[in-house]
């Protein structure tokens, strides 16, 4: 049985889709079998970021409504043969997602893949709650600024109450992925510090992705950043995050801080 991961944030534009694609590709680059599922019905983007927009025939809603088989809707990545995309529908809306339908699709994907990564839409409504519903692990994507942090806090509360795991009295495993971290702005004090974000959210840190033009460039060419330029700073950070996701203990380096000298290593766990 594979692991189901939800990539969520509450707030829009913080990097959920970029992170879903990059982590999915990073895991697949290490030989894992990965399905990335776009839950943003009506506003799909994952197909673009993964460069599969011209190959979409069937989508998640078609599968849920029984108009297509799961195998017909899954798109295999052209560069990585263990990476698959299940696109969202652009012409429907989130009302077409039914709890039973989502459960069936996730159940089937879990049997066939090592990792099922659910790219959640922004917000706390139907699309987002259904995306997190069946997750084993949650990745909370947060930017180092107050509105994003507060929305993430709200989402963590929902992860602890509205998911199947929470309703069964189990603990949802949650990780913080701090994205768009700008060392220069952090230096000037224009951004929340890593420690402040960790203190507020008090969940373990999965990684810090530096703000970089590499990310934008990668999505413009339709490739996850870990595939587009695997040696770029954000790609390296995503590779490390993927290793931590698999259970490896790796210290998290704060971008812009020199390791060893001023090096501040975060192996921090939640209180």
């Amino acid at each position: 049985m594979g692991k189901v991961i939800v990539v969520t944030s509450g707030k829009g534009g913080v990097g959920k889709t970029t992170s879903s694609a990059a982590l999915g590709a990073a895991l697949a680059q290490n030989g894992e079998k990965v399905a990335v599922v776009d839950f943003d019905v009506g506003l799909r983007n994952l197909d673009l970021v993964m460069g599969a927009e011209r190959r979409v025939v069937y989508d998640l809603v078609n599968v849920i409504q029984g108009e297509a088989k799961l195998t017909q809707a899954l798109i295999r990545d052209k560069r990585l043969e263990t990476l698959y995309l299940l696109p969202a529908s652009q012409t429907r809306d989130k009302e077409n997602l039914t709890p039973e339908g989502v459960e069936k699709v996730i159940g089937a994907l879990k049997k066939a893949f090592d990792w099922v990564i659910c790219d959640s839409p922004a917000g706390i409504e139907r699309g987002a709650t259904l995306a997190m519903r069946h997750a084993d692990v949650a990745i909370v994507v947060t930017n180092p600024e107050v509105s994003s942090v507060r929305d993430s806090d709200r989402i963590i509360g929902l992860l602890d109450s509205k998911t199947l795991k929470a309703e069964n009295g189990e603990r949802m495993e949650k990780h913080l992925l701090l994205t768009r971290y700008d060392p220069a702005r952090a230096e000037r004090g224009d951004m929340l510090k890593v420690d402040d974000v960790l203190e507020i959210l008090s969940i373990p840190l999965l990684g810090i992705i530096p703000e970089s033009t590499d990310v934008l460039r990668a999505s413009n060419v339709g490739a996850p950043v870990t595939l587009a330029d695997s040696r770029s700073a954000p790609a390296v950070a995503y590779f490390d995050a993927a290793r931590r996701l698999k259970g490896e203990e790796l210290p998290v380096a704060v971008p812009g801080e020199k390791r060893g000298f001023f090096g501040k290593i975060f192996g921090r766990k939640a209180a």
Binding site: R150, D151, D153, R154, G157, D160, E199, I200, S202, A271
Partner: protein
């Protein structure tokens, strides 16, 4: 250091407990109503102008039956101010509101003797001084209170081991203790307890209130931000001082 914070004129919302008669009907209702009629015949005006709560806990009835019972009682001049133990979904606009967490007081003896018109003794409900002192309940929360969550505990004190996030709120009948940063709202003494206090390791609150008097972040003394603080009420003034 102590600071009397500035004083706007807020609307005060307070909880208050009152003593009411709790009527516990039994099935079948026809028999029970007959017994009630019998009691009313012996002491006219017994229920007149008294606050009465209907306790239907454990009764196997549906909404229509409850509705009918309330109507029947209304015809007997028994006015129901609230219903305890009914399913919330039953209580629409046509029925009195739900009441919960009632505390038992001493049993009320129905008068047996015939009385002239009963109006005179309306105000004399049995006093409940004989009760043993109750332990004040407390609620301990070991998780952070997240944005959008609301912790509501009118029975007593709340202790949070962790932080209260921006956009979260803690409402307590007693005092509030936060062993972490208070970024959201804390409302203590909401059931009319002016001696309740708020304590926190680090004050970043959006709003604090004691017994209906409140302060927003803007009205708070800037020096107290980020510090370990206790907040209490003196008369109608919210006061705050650093701890330790």
């Amino acid at each position: 250091m102590n600071d009397v914070l500035t004083q706007p004129r807020p609307i005060r919302l307070k909880g208050r407990s009152f003593l009411a008669l709790a009527l516990t009907p039994e099935l079948p209702f026809e028999d029970w109503l007959a017994r009630l009629d019998d009691l009313a015949a012996r002491s006219a005006g017994f229920f007149l102008r008294r606050p009465v709560v209907l306790d239907v806990d454990g009764l196997d009835i549906d909404r229509a039956q409850l509705r009918e019972l309330v109507d029947q009682l209304g015809r007997r001049n028994v006015r129901i101010m609230g219903i305890e133990g009914a399913r919330p979904s039953w209580l629409g606009a046509d029925l009195p509101p739900a009441m919960t967490d009632g505390r038992p007081a001493s049993d009320f003896e129905a008068p047996v003797a015939e009385e002239s018109d009963g109006i005179d003794d309306v105000a004399s409900l049995a006093p409940c001084e004989g009760q043993p002192a109750r332990a004040v309940p407390s609620l301990v929360v070991t998780e952070p209170v997240r944005s959008g969550q609301s912790l509501f505990f009118p029975e007593g004190d709340v202790t949070v081991i962790g932080s209260v996030a921006s956009g979260a709120e803690v409402v307590a009948g007693g005092s509030i203790h936060i062993y972490g940063t208070l970024r959201g709202r804390a409302m203590a003494g909401t059931t009319g307890n002016a001696s309740a206090r708020i304590f926190c390791r680090k004050l970043e609150a959006e709003l604090i209130a004691i017994d209906g008097f409140y302060k927003t972040a803007e009205d708070m003394e800037p020096d107290l931000r980020g510090r370990a603080v206790q907040i209490w009420l003196e008369g109608e003034a919210i006061k705050a001082g650093t701890l330790g």
